[in-house]
């Protein structure tokens, strides 16, 4: 075993470091600590996201893992992990979680040549921004039960139905959509995937406000929306298999722990400089223990993320499905522990949001609220645990 980065990897890391350190100086205050809130809640945040996407596109870093013929350098997943760690540490936006994180890998697996040539370059340049049209009001964890229809009409499909929990639907210019193309089908058979523009006639986007009143999620209504046939990705009625591939790309981020290490350092700085009852918070044994626990989580979580990426690189993405689910569960529930501990340590100040009095600019108060969503989105942690049990432990799956 060897955990050392190669000289080339070290050099790459430094290049990423230099870039993000410099560019993150341009972040507006509205962007906060980033994440979906930083990117989607305010116009300023989203503009900064777009600015960074463009910059990353110029560097060629959005498409690094892709095959050469589509503008990539076929960078191994370990290099992607290094990129994600550095970007995570700097809390940097610019990598569209849906376009770059999910749809591009789907295109590479399932699109035809014409679609790859047409759809990948704008993604690589950081010019196309996507949202994900999968969940519906009655199809969440049970995604295969979705009812939005796509009915063939000449060389178009006509879409009707409702998508829900669409993160950034009000900001994105594109969506990748999962809809039922075979009306007589049930469950996962008879679904197809589509690429579409959000300004097509018949699309209506309406906000679902988060508990902190921030605007991140949407309902998206489709009434007779016409999507050209050439924007169906993969064969008709074969969309489900594409979602499986996509989901594996999505769940292995290591950036969470790099970001968390920085946040934890800020918490440590806070407790070392804040006095209560005549003593620094850092002298309180309960505070010390909470911080030690968080540190341990960042260390072991990072080791798990490396393992996940290593497995993905060695055995392919499907092989590592269980490890990826473990990373998702651990990363999100760790973020929740961090939010809980931090706001507990802060005492009364832990409840303050954007205020001059708020410790750490209120980011922990934001995380306290946002972390609940993290446990649910991108495959709820219950579904992830099912997967760990089925795939990782080979436990029986009742139908």
């Amino acid at each position: 075993m060897d955990f050392k980065l190669t000289k080339e990897q070290e050099a790459l890391k430094e290049e990423f470091e230099d870039f993000f350190r410099e560019e993150m100086k341009n972040a507006p205050s509205e962007y906060g600590h980033g994440g979906l809130e930083g990117v989607y809640a305010t116009e300023e945040g989203f503009q900064f996201h777009k600015y960074m996407a463009k910059k990353l596109g110029e560097k060629g870093w959005l498409s690094r893992p892709w095959p050469k013929e589509y503008g990539g350098v076929e960078a191994p997943l370990m290099e992607q992990l290094i990129f994600n760690e550095v970007a995570g540490y700097h809390r940097a936006p610019g990598v569209d979680p849906f376009g770059i994180g999910m749809f591009a890998p789907t295109l590479l697996v399932g699109a035809n040549e014409e679609q790859k040539k047409r759809l990948l370059p704008p993604l690589a340049r950081g010019e196309a921004f996507y949202c994900q049209g999968w969940s519906e009001p009655d199809a969440g964890s049970d995604l295969a039960s979705l009812t939005t229809t796509a009915v063939k009409d000449g060389d178009h499909y006509v879409i009707n139905g409702q998508k829900s929990w669409t993160s950034g639907g009000h900001r994105a210019d594109h969506m990748f959509l999962l809809a039922r193309t075979d009306p007589d089908s049930t469950r996962s058979r008879g679904l197809s995937m589509f690429n579409l523009r959000m300004d097509y006639p018949g699309i209506e986007v309406s906000p679902i406000l988060y508990m902190d009143n921030k605007y991140l999620y949407n309902d998206v209504f489709f009434s007779n929306v016409r999507v050209p046939e050439y924007d169906r990705i993969g064969a008709e009625n074969e969309g489900w298999n594409l979602t499986r591939a996509t989901m594996n790309f999505e769940r292995s981020g290591a950036g969470v722990f790099a970001a968390a290490k920085r946040t934890l350092q800020e918490i440590i700085d806070y407790v070392k400089t804040t006095k209560r009852d005549g003593k620094f918070l850092s002298e309180n044994p309960i505070v010390r223990q909470k911080i030690a626990k968080l540190f341990i989580d960042t260390e072991v979580g990072q080791a798990l993320a490396y393992r996940t990426t290593w497995l993905q690189q060695q055995g392919g993405l499907i092989f590592a499905a269980s490890a990826a689910s473990e990373s998702k569960v651990f990363g999100t529930e760790f973020s929740q522990r961090m939010a809980n501990y931090a706001t507990e340590i802060m005492g009364l100040y832990g409840q303050l949001e954007e205020s001059q009095w708020a410790p750490m600019e209120g980011t922990m108060a934001t995380l306290y609220q946002f972390c609940t969503g993290m446990n649910i989105y991108a495959g709820s942690n219950e579904i992830q645990r099912n997967l760990i049990a089925w795939v990782g432990l080979n436990l029986p799956r009742f139908k």
Binding site: D2, F3, L5, I388, L395, P396
Partner: protein, 372 residues
């Protein structure tokens, strides 16, 4: 970067697993637990023949000079078997102490004997107060003309009842904490086994006017704590290897049981409540074990692991208890019996938790390492 084992390491793992499966099934583990000696001298000899004890010692002391990782693989597999033997006290705690702090003569004399299974040793550190810190070592070592005289009581000394020699941490009047090599059969020594959850060889050892020649000091007088601390890092990691072996086998046996046990006409492993317990157990294991390999790699690279070792032990302490406790819950009533093996590991998790620092001790060390 390469996170796979070498082919040789895979082979070591396989051969250790095969040997243990054949030679020491769980029924025998439980019999040994109930015996006075707490181990099988016959098996101990066979292990020595296979080279397990000498694998990490340098070649000049009769060892094979293999990396720490190889040794950890052996211990992981022994952990899976809950294998009762004085391996940890002899090879790890005592062997590494001699290797680190011993004189050339001591190394040449003792390490080959440990390596070939002739010598069993134990480390006597803790006292009545049961502190992990240097302030907990207060047993006096009085210097006379040509020897030291030890008087006092050492507690929680593992394998003292079967040891040929002890390493005793005591305090000299002028130099402070010093390590002494003591003949365990000295008439001034009284050793009593203490009944523990782990049913292991935990002993109370009383020293009455025990004379130790000056040349049986390990290192120089006053250097004792420094050596102990250095060794305790590697030893803690080695204990974690054993614990992680226990975690892994506990998950495996629980998963097997959940697939076989039928209720409501179905194997209980198909029920979500059970599946989510199992997923949490697997997660606790995978986070721990991957970090563990990283720390072992750091040791082989000669890196400083003072922060990592506490991080690891605190993590593994909690993971082991969690996994084995849920393991019993999933087994249901039979999980609580002497007959079923999951409880064996539940008990081992408790005894291992205390070895070289409990969770609270290591949380505090992590906090200190973060500058608090």
């Amino acid at each position: 970067m390469n996170l796979d084992f070498t082919k040789d390491q895979d082979m070591i793992r396989k051969s250790v697993a095969e040997f243990i499966a054949k030679e020491c099934p769980y029924e025998q583990v439980k019999e040994l637990e109930e015996s006075d000696a707490g181990y099988s001298s016959e098996l101990w000899k066979k292990m020595a023949e296979l080279g397990w004890m000498q694998i990490h010692f340098p070649e000049e002391y009769g060892g094979l000079g293999d990396p720490f990782m190889d040794l950890m693989i052996i211990i992981e597999e022994m952990g899976k078997a809950a294998f009762p033997s004085p391996f940890f006290s002899t090879v790890i705690q005592s062997g590494l102490t001699i290797l680190e702090g011993g004189s050339e003569d001591q190394k040449k004399e003792l390490l080959p004997k440990i390596g070939n299974g002739e010598l069993i040793m134990a480390l006597a550190q803790y006292e009545e107060e049961a502190s992990y810190l240097p302030s907990g070592i207060n047993m006096p070592a009085q210097l006379t003309a040509d020897h030291y005289v030890l008087n006092g009581t050492k507690m929680f000394v593992t394998d003292a009842n079967i040891a040929d020699k002890l390493i005793v941490a005591a305090k000299t009047h002028d130099a402070g904490i010093t390590l002494f090599l003591v003949d365990a059969k000295d008439p001034g020594i009284t050793c009593t086994k203490m009944p523990t959850i782990g049913m292991d060889n935990t002993c109370e050892v009383i020293f009455k006017e025990v004379k130790v020649p000056k040349h049986d000091v390990i290192g120089v007088p006053g250097e004792g704590w420094e050596i102990l601390e250095k060794i305790s890092q590697k030893a803690t990691v080695a204990k974690c290897a054993e614990m992680l072996g226990g975690c892994k086998v506990s998950i495996d046996m629980t998963s097997d049981y959940a697939k076989k046990r039928v209720q409501y006409g179905k194997p209980i492993g198909g029920f979500q409540a059970i599946q989510h317990y199992m997923a949490n157990m697997q997660l606790a294991y995978d986070t721990s074990v991957n970090y563990f390999y990283k720390v072992v790699w750091m040791i082989d690279e000669g890196m400083d692991i003072s922060q990592e070792v506490s991080t690891l032990k605190a993590q593994v302490n909690e993971a082991y208890k969690f996994i084995t406790e849920r393991g019993i819950q999933i087994h249901g009533g039979v999980g609580t019996t002497r007959e079923f093996n999951i409880a064996l590991f539940y008990r081992r998790a408790k005894s291992a938790e205390y070895v070289l620092g409990d969770t609270d001790h290591h949380y505090e060390k992590v906090a200190q390492s973060l500058g608090m």
